[in-house]
């Protein structure tokens, strides 16, 4: 195995003469002048998408000034929130697992803007931004990480179990959420609702068996499910080339068509999400959507993130392909806001997150009687349940 690792870097990553996707965050161009009140069109870079068994989406996106400013505010706030979680973990106020999505904000904010809160999204555990954007608050998320009563799961779930009515979680077992997502799509089709279901997983989970079982069932029964692969190039500590025989995850669906999109450019994400939502709600069956993105931090808080990749690589991605800087560039270049305005937005985001941190810290820890609630649905509890020791018995 070690000898293979030494040989690997010399294997060419892409075949020559084959166009590969580009992941710059700021490559979109304005078509005509950007209006401050009307929606205007933007041209994406021609290498923003690749298609498999289907045509990639067209390269024009319609956006409004307010939408772009909202996106910027949300991305900055999510970045600040994840950094605050990082700092709280290093102060030992957050314990246990904590997987941060710093660098992948374009995916969550882009998906939020391309879908409605009726659509279903189910994901793994790098989901703090999803939970907050889809109906949660920063205070409830940080409270959940700190293990306090104000948290989304009342402090009993932690980082990997955050749910809102519009976000179906928050799951710890790798790849376990993909069959659940297919089931949600089945329910949507059964109830004849015109909604899309986004079942998300990562490049590390893409080789799990149940993912392919879900593909089979979704295509067999024509379910309105979008299988989203967030390819951040590393599955925990293993790079995608060392884990997968086929790193083009959008082609893994066999007969299911697939699209690969630039996950660092939020406008490309938005277009891809809109395209796939139209695809599945029009009855075309499932579709695969791969976002090529990057995470700056380690897999979780116990991973420094530099033992399997060089610090220079991380710094290079941070400086040249950061999604927030890319959107900032669009906004400033297209004359929608000035640098000072955006700096003010940054400051407000930092203040909002700091305030939420203080409020969450003041919330009390769960009561001992809450150990027994929320295990069974109300009215279906067994007569008694054993606790931590044999003598600890709780009667419902």
């Amino acid at each position: 195995m070690a000898s293979l690792a030494r040989i690997r870097p010399t294997i060419q990553r892409t075949l020559p003469f084959v166009r590969s996707i580009q992941i710059a965050a700021d490559s979109s161009q304005l078509q005509e002048g950007a209006s401050h009140s009307e929606p205007f069109k933007v041209n994406l870079h021609e290498d923003s998408f690749r298609g498999y068994n289907t045509e990639p989406p067209s390269l024009d996106v319609e956006v409004t000034k307010d939408q772009l400013l909202t996106m910027y505010r949300q991305m900055t706030t999510m970045r600040r929130m994840e950094m605050a979680a990082d700092a709280l973990y290093k102060q030992k106020l957050i314990r246990g697992f904590c997987h941060l999505a710093i660098g992948q904000e374009a995916v969550s904010v882009g998906m939020e803007h391309g879908t409605t809160h009726d659509d279903r999204i189910i994901s793994s555990y790098r989901t703090h931004p999803f939970a907050v954007l889809r109906g949660g608050t920063i205070k409830s998320l940080l409270g959940e990480l700190l293990g306090r009563q104000c948290g989304m799961s009342h402090g009993k779930g932690g980082s990997m179990h955050v749910f809102t009515p519009a976000f179906q979680g928050g799951h710890g077992i790798v790849g376990a959420q993909v069959p659940l997502g297919a089931g949600l799509a089945f329910a949507a089709k059964y109830d004849e609702k015109k909604i899309a279901t986004y079942a998300m997983y990562g490049d590390g989970a893409s080789n799990q068996g149940q993912v392919f079982e879900s593909f089979n069932m979704a295509k067999l029964w024509n379910l309105p499910c979008v299988f989203v692969c967030e390819n951040n190039k590393y599955g925990m500590g293993t790079s995608a080339e060392r884990s997968s025989m086929n790193t083009e995850y959008y082609t893994r669906g066999d007969k299911i068509p697939g699209i690969q999109a630039n996950g660092m450019d939020i406008l490309a994400v938005l277009k891809a999400v809109q395209h796939t939502k139209d695809w599945v709600t029009s009855g075309n069956g499932p579709i695969l959507l791969e976002f090529v993105t990057y995470r700056y931090g380690g897999h979780s808080m116990s991973d420094p993130g530099t033992t399997y990749r060089t610090r220079e690589e991380v710094q290079r991605m941070r400086s040249t392909q950061d999604p927030i800087r890319g959107l900032q560039r669009y906004i400033e270049e297209w004359g929608l806001a000035s640098e000072q305005d955006l700096k003010a937005v940054d400051k407000e985001a930092k203040a909002e997150v700091d305030k939420a941190v203080e409020e969450a810290k003041e919330s009390p820890e769960p009561l001992e009687k809450d150990l027994w609630s929320d295990i069974y649905a109300k009215g279906t509890e067994p007569p008694f349940m054993r606790g931590r020791e044999r003598e600890e018995i709780h009667y419902f």
Binding site: R95, S319, D346
Partner: protein, 304 residues
Amino acid sequence: MLALRQVSRTAARSVSSRRWIQASATCRAITNLEMPAMSPTMTEGGIAHWKKKEGEAFSAGDVLLEIETDKATIDVEAQDDGVLGKILAQDGTKGIPVGKIIAILAEEGDDISNLQPPAEKEKPSAPKQEASTSAPPPPAPVSNKQESVPSAPRAAEPVQHARPLFPSVLRLLEEHGIADAGKIKGTGVRGMLTKGDVLAFLGKASSPTGTYKEPPNELPETQQKAAKQEAQQPLDGAAIRRLIVGSMLDASVKARAAAAPPAPADFDSIIADYLPPSKEAPATPPVPPPTKSTSGPEYLDGLL
């Protein structure tokens, strides 16, 4: 026209490109850099080496310093862009508890010439901790003094004992100047002295086992079973042989039953299971085996 636009755009891009090196915007504030817990079990660490000097600028993701924990030396990255204002803990400092401020970070363009190390800002829980930690130290030194005084002059007296003593017991006896170990009754294994015995003798404990209570064995079944097992006698030779022969008989009977060939099945008998029950033919009584009379001249016919 289009070419002019493109040229101006690229010119603007090159001018503004320097700004895009920073990964996050700056805000005018001074932040304290505290000692981070690099792993969940870390309680204190040392500064191995500062990678940035005072006044040096850094961007988000740059390594600021290396921290030495008990397990490894780990790099600490900066979260935001900024300038290192003042280093409070220099290279080589050891034993810095997690949470202590080790440097002050400022933003670019701020005046860093007169940064004061902050007066130890206590978090709300810290004053409580300080109050509680100040209470135990006063009693601890007081009791230490009491024990240190008697132990010094009495260390010379040897303890007389006829049987081996535990080190803890020996220490206690020496400390309290009990010369004769025979005075104390031993409740340990084979009558040995235990620490609890000595403490009870000295009056420091209520009994040799202190407040330990045997957990009550409540379930009656376990008590009965325990009593039954005590009452069982060990098997003697004849009983063992009887047990063996009995088990062998059981096993051979079972084997004979299992080895008997199944009754041959024909089509009707198999399909009868699946057909609806028809009116039953009168059941023929099973043919009784020919009775063998044990008396009479024919009895031994088959044997001879």
